[in-house]
Amino acid sequence: MKALVVEDNINLANSIAATLSEAAFSIDVAEDGRKALHMLEQGGYDLLVLDLGLPELDGISLLRQLRHQQNTIPVLIISARDSLDQRIHGLEVGADDYLCKPFSLEEVTARARALVRRAKHFGGETLQCGRLEFLPDAMELRLDGKPLLLHRRELEVMEYLLINQNRLVNKDQIIDRLSTADESVSYAAVETYISRIRKKIGYDFGLKTVRGLGYYLDSKGYDSKGYESKDAKGPAHE
């Protein structure tokens, strides 16, 4: 996976680059907006980590130009700008996620992974969580490499939970995901699928029921391949 880090603060640029490299990204760094736009036009990036306060071409303008060119690359904005309006502005212009300074590098990694996971699963990339592995093309869930026998609906639920691991997923989102024009799914059905999935997987793989809210798939502590860092933090609360 290839990521472009656009940040004019050398210390931050280097630290982000180093930490994302450890998370299996290959990294390019650009110090200003114009250079970054030029590099992005060459293509081939899976993720853009973008600071908003940049020399030459500011982050928001860069993002706007990018989206104008129909470039759908996932964008994680990093900014010292504080107002929430700024955040909303960034998301409106087409950022996928927003991280407010000061942040921890672990947060950057977790957000970067989640963004790429959500963008990539359409491309058939394998999803992992601890001993579990999901192959979207084959619609197959494996435990320690061995396929589990799950119903199609259960696999769809599982795929959605794996895409959104370390995030709160509510039942409505699952229902939206499962329902088709001819078939709608009820809350009770979702609960049934979840309980069957738990039974078939047979061990506590980190799926929590959140009363009144939905489900939370926690990848922490169930990590066998060093893919998810131990203390993956969720979205900052800005």
Binding site: N11, P102, A110, D218, K220, E238
Partner: protein, 459 residues
């Protein structure tokens, strides 16, 4: 007159005193004029009676006689009440008729003389006439004295005075009522201003409506200038706060990033321990910087309440839970959301309200366990009562000392110095609650744990 005496009583005093004095003066002068007038009228009647009496005198056989046939007491008296006395006597001679004891006038004159006299225990008004008469061709002077008791005059004067005083009193009461009404109406704009000031929240620094009479306009303008100055001063303080926190963001990010990077390489060198400390401090600093900025932005004096919108609290709670869920579950804590009834919308700022809920969840997550890391459920609940919506965020932790409860919303108060909070979380919550005119209460739950309740009024 003391400086803080009310304007109403000043006006009442300065209207009431002169008017009372004037009324008394008017009554006294009326009394004087009236009694003089009544006396004159009665004296005329008395003189008239005396002259009529005189005409009844005739001479028979060289003796003076009086024809009392046509003369009666009733024709003499003015009103028939009171007593009439008379005396007819030749000058330096014999009595002709009447009461001889009736005192003669102090002097003699050709003109009628009016004088006061006492007779048989009665205070009388008398008139004395001296007239020339002929008795058998020989001229004699005859003295006629007619006296009348004064009761009639007094009664008439008193009647008039009673009526007049009654009228005065009624007029006076009417005047006082009108004065009171005038004072009330005149002071109404002042009362309106003080009521407007009383009713506004202590944080409302908006200008007062200056549609007011020109007498109190300077007062209102001064108040408005003062409010504006206060607002500006708060704004500049908050702007400084925001600038400082903003400028600290990038350097703190750098410190955090570099420490994190260094910690990855370091073995168990002594520097490692310092790096861990630096990392902890940097994390604390970054949390504080973020909270300070929120604190600056939620000062209720500065939030424009006219921009509040209809807000669905359920959605706000869902968002806040989704935002905080990763850090909660990372710490092996759990989240729950209870809401069983439909919740009416409230008037609010969605961003501030989300901060309120996330701050409460984070507060519970950090402090519910006291000195130990909390491992339990944090419950967010919404209920709708008759005319308000209640948001509660509760935990099942150790609670807090009752005497510390009032201090929790103080800035930088931390009941546990070792916990990583900024000391601003609940102060921010309080500010946001104030902005929304919501009631904030912090309590220990009877079944254990700490609970924060925020009571909103629906739209």
């Amino acid at each position: 007159m003391s400086k803080n005496q009310s304007i109403r009583s000043r006006l009442l005093l300065w209207i009431g005193l002169p008017f009372t004095a004037l009324a008394i003066l008017a009554l006294l002068s009326s009394h004087l004029l009236l009694s003089r007038q009544i006396n004159a009228t009665f004296d005329d009647l008395l003189l008239n009676a005396a002259q009529r009496l005189e005409r009844r005198i005739y001479t028979a056989d060289g003796e003076l006689r009086i024809n009392m046939h046509y003369f009666s007491v009733s024709t003499l008296g003015s009103r028939g009440e009171g007593k009439i006395f008379y005396r007819i006597k030749e000058s330096d001679g014999d009595m002709v008729a009447g009461f001889s004891g009736l005192t003669a006038p102090p002097e003699t004159s050709q003109e009628p003389i009016f004088y006061d006299v006492d007779y048989a225990g009665n205070a009388l008004r008398a008139v004395a006439l001296t007239l020339p008469f002929r008795r058998g061709g020989e001229p004699v002077n005859i003295e006629v004295v007619v006296a009348e008791s004064k009761e009639a005059r007094h009664t008439l004067t008193n009647d008039f005075m009673i009526t007049l005083t009654g009228l005065m009193v009624v007029t006076g009461l009417l005047a006082i009522s009108i004065a009171l009404l005038a004072i009330h109406l005149g002071l109404a704009p002042l009362n309106a201003v003080s009521q407007a000031l009383r009713q506004r929240s202590p944080n409302d620094l908006h200008a007062l409506d200056d549609a007011a009479p020109k007498e109190i306009l300077p007062l209102i303008q001064s108040i408005n200038h003062l409010m504006q100055r206060m607002r500006r001063s708060i704004e500049s303080t908050q702007q400084l706060n925001a600038d400082v926190s903003h400028q600290l963001r990038t350097p703190i990010s750098e410190i955090r990033a570099l420490t994190e990077m260094s910690l990855k390489d370091a073995s168990q060198s002594p520097a490692h321990t310092s790096l861990r400390e630096i990392q902890r401090i940097a994390e604390h600093a970054s949390h504080t910087v973020k909270q300070l900025l929120k604190y600056a932005k939620t000062r209720s004096e500065l939030v424009d309440t006219s921009h509040l919108e209809n807000v669905d609290l359920i959605a706000i709670c869902h968002d806040a839970c989704a935002q905080t869920a990763p850090s909660i579950y990372t710490k092996n804590q759990e989240l729950a959301f209870d809401q069983h009834k439909a919740i009416p919308n409230i008037l609010g700022d969605p961003i501030l309200l989300r901060w309120l809920v996330t701050n409460l969840i984070e507060n519970a997550s950090l402090h519910a366990g006291g000195d130990h890391a909390y491992q339990g459920v944090i419950t967010v609940a919404l209920t709708a009562e008759e005319d308000h919506v209640v948001l509660t965020v509760s935990d099942e932790g150790i609670g807090i000392d009752e005497e510390l409860l009032p201090k929790l919303t103080e800035r930088f108060f931390r009941h546990n110095r070792h916990s990583p909070g900024s000391g601003l979380g609940l102060a921010i919550v309080e500010q946001i609650a104030t902005t929304h005119s919501a009631l904030l209460s912090l309590t220990n739950r009877p079944q254990g744990g700490f609970e924060v309740t925020v009571i909103f009024r629906p739209v």
